[in-house]
Amino acid sequence: MSSLHTISRSPSSLLFESCCTLLQDGDGVLFIEDGIYYSTQQDQARPSLPEIKLYCLREDAIARGMLERKSADIETIDYQGFVQLCCEYDKVISWF
């Protein structure tokens, strides 16, 4: 059963780090709201996760002036894409 994890707080929350210890191959991680600040390269080396997809929500990135700053390995999606991901993964796990 694949999961989509949504991260909605900034790196100072260490939410992603907590989430990473529980990820399984085939899972996805979506950065939303203040979670957007995780999407820069400067952020502490992401754990090397083989089969994990990373996404960020375009609207939240634009609002925060972070669209240009995000690293290339993160796919940008819009709200429609968000809905689609919710359907593609078996469940959604919210981290907040």
Binding site: S10, E33, D60
Partner: protein, 129 residues
Amino acid sequence: MPATENKSAPLKKSITFISRAAPYGSNNPHLCLDMALACAVFEQDVNYVFLNDGVYQLLRNQKGASIESKTIGNVFETLELYGIDSVCVDEESLSQRGLRVEDLVIDVKLLSRQAIATLLHRSDCVFNL
């Protein structure tokens, strides 16, 4: 009735605001700014410090309209109009986030943690949100 002309000069205090929250995620950045502007209107000596995630408030190219919010970055240009000249950013918070002064919307003073500690020590009153 006390004679108003005998009143001593209004008490002027040194008030420091520490804004620590990222924009849009909570209302704290706006609350902090509103308090500071109110104090400045009453001719208090205001210092404004951006610490931790608060530095994200100053990033260029913010577009709050994208999530139906007010863009907070632009608002800081009003600090100067209100006579708040002491706008400071914690150097460490900035570099930890891979940001440089060129990435920010306004001119700020870069302060070390030690310098901020001294500023707080000197202040009569500190608001921290």
